[in-house]
């Protein structure tokens, strides 16, 4: 009989490279913490946020059940340590909160292949083949080993998994565990997600006029796009249709009315990008 599976989202990191609290960074309008909790909650019996003592009153973290670090400045091992001690009979699915591309299928893959008789079950990094410690399941039996590891002044959870008795899996979705540590990486991830991970593609009709009609080689087209607004849509079309005008030269019209670049698009919208006019 395997131990009940609890979930833990780690938010106690110092975010030294990002220089911003990673838990509250948003993708497509939702914080990383909220995204991680939303993914994890349906898959585990109970779900907690791991925080440092000085973060426990933070509004985002306070919205969830918390487990507070007992040890300082030992990195992510502190969260795992506190969880294993607070509920010693539970196994823990531990997640870093900075995995914007993580999907439910990857967590389900991990859970389905969990080996409760070993100390942990983990996914292999698609970058270096080593175990990923911050999207992994730790069994109750790992507690003593981890305590000893910390007592021996070891900190690195990757090294811990590399030498422990661990079930290792190959990721089905190779990019699911790409993480985001710097402002640049966040920018790139934001663009990649751009609201898109959560948005299904929707049908939009694009109308082209004058010089843009000639550049696009058509006066209208209907397509599927995940673009949340006209700005993102124009960037998409600029590449797709080799449009030469910059957005600051254009105005937007949505459904035959002047619109706004950031106005959210909905299925069935007709969008036009208007080149500089020359009536009269």
């Amino acid at each position: 009989m395997s131990a009940p599976l609890y979930g833990l989202v780690l938010t106690g990191g110092r975010s030294k490279r990002m220089q911003r609290d990673k838990a509250v960074l948003e993708y497509a309008g939702r914080s990383q913490l909220e995204r991680a909790m939303t993914l994890l909650e349906p898959l585990v019996e109970r779900c907690f946020v791991s925080t440092r003592a000085d973060q426990q009153n933070d509004a985002q973290r306070a919205a969830y059940a918390q487990i507070i670090d007992q040890l300082d400045d030992i990195g992510p091992m502190a969260g795992l340590h506190a969880a294993l001690h607070s509920h010693p009979r539970a196994a823990w699915l531990v997640l870093a909160c900075d995995l914007p591309f993580l999907d439910a299928a990857t967590l389900q893959q991990l859970i389905a292949a969990r080996a409760p008789h070993r100390l942990a079950s983990a996914l292999r990094s698609s970058h270096d083949g080593k175990p990923e410690p911050l999207c992994a399941i730790y069994e109750p039996a790992s507690r003593a080993t981890i305590d000893a590891w910390i007592a021996a002044d070891q900190r690195c959870p990757r090294k811990f998994l590399a030498q422990a008795d661990v079930q290792l899996l190959t990721l089905n979705n190779a990019r699911a565990l790409d993480n985001v540590n710097t402002a640049d990486e966040y920018q790139q991830a934001s663009q990649r997600l751009g609201g898109q991970a959560l948005r299904p593609p929707q049908t939009l009709t694009i109308q082209y006029f004058a010089i843009l009609r000639e550049q696009a080689g058509r006066s209208a087209e209907t397509l599927q796009s995940r673009a949340p607004d006209a700005r993102a849509l124009y960037e998409e079309l600029r590449t797709l249709r080799q449009l030469q005008l910059r957005p600051e030269q254009l105005r937007v019209a949505i459904n035959d009315a002047f619109g706004d670049w950031s106005q959210p698009l909905k299925a069935g919208d007709r969008v036009a990008f208007l080149p500089p006019v020359a009536g009269g």
Binding site: A253, V277, A278, G280
Partner: protein
């Protein structure tokens, strides 16, 4: 009747003038924009106008309503051409009739200025050289400022004047 329309065929200015007749009006001002044979040093042979019709109609109606309210004039009418135009053809026609000449002049000027800068209508010039170009579009790739802004459009020299007839040349 919004007072604004688009026309794919030649504008009948006599019929439009007739529409504006109102016994309460003592002044009539008309502006006609004609297709000119030159622009920015190039010899122009013909023009094409393309409109985003539903939006041009709603924005045109809005401009007419603004002028009616702002200047208190009785009769306003504007027609803009679409399609291919030859030299000398009327590209845009604006007519205003009012009790007195001052508000008729001012309303007419307001209408043509707003129409030129706000309506989603584009003009392609064909030149004697065989080249062609979309006015305000071809040369403003380097312009950083908002090309829809009136001042900016003039700043990079791409807002040609079609006006030849002085406003009011037919007022009574």
């Amino acid at each position: 009747m919004s007072g604004f329309s688009l026309s794919a065929s030649a504008i009948d200015e006599r019929a439009l003038r007739g529409e504006l007749f109102d016994p309460a009006c003592g002044g009539y001002v008309c502006f006609e924009g004609w297709v000119r044979n030159h622009n920015e040093g190039q010899q122009v042979t013909r023009l094409e106008y393309e409109a985003y019709e539903p939006l041009a109609l709603s924005e045109g109606a809005r401009i007419i309503a603004e002028a009616r309210q702002r200047f208190g004039v009785q009769q306003l009418r504007c027609v803009h051409r679409t399609g291919a135009l030859a030299l000398g053809e009327i590209a845009v026609w604006v007519g205003v009739a009012a009790a007195h000449r001052d508000e008729a002049f001012r309303a007419c000027r307001y209408l043509i200025d707003e129409i030129k800068h706000r309506l989603p209508i584009w003009k392609k010039e064909h030149y004697l050289s065989g080249d062609s170009g979309w006015v305000n579009c071809e040369r403003c790739a380097a312009a950083a400022s908002d090309p829809h802004d009136h001042g900016a459009a003039h700043a990079h020299g791409a807002a040609p004047e079609l006006r030849r007839a002085a406003p009011g040349d037919r007022h009574s």
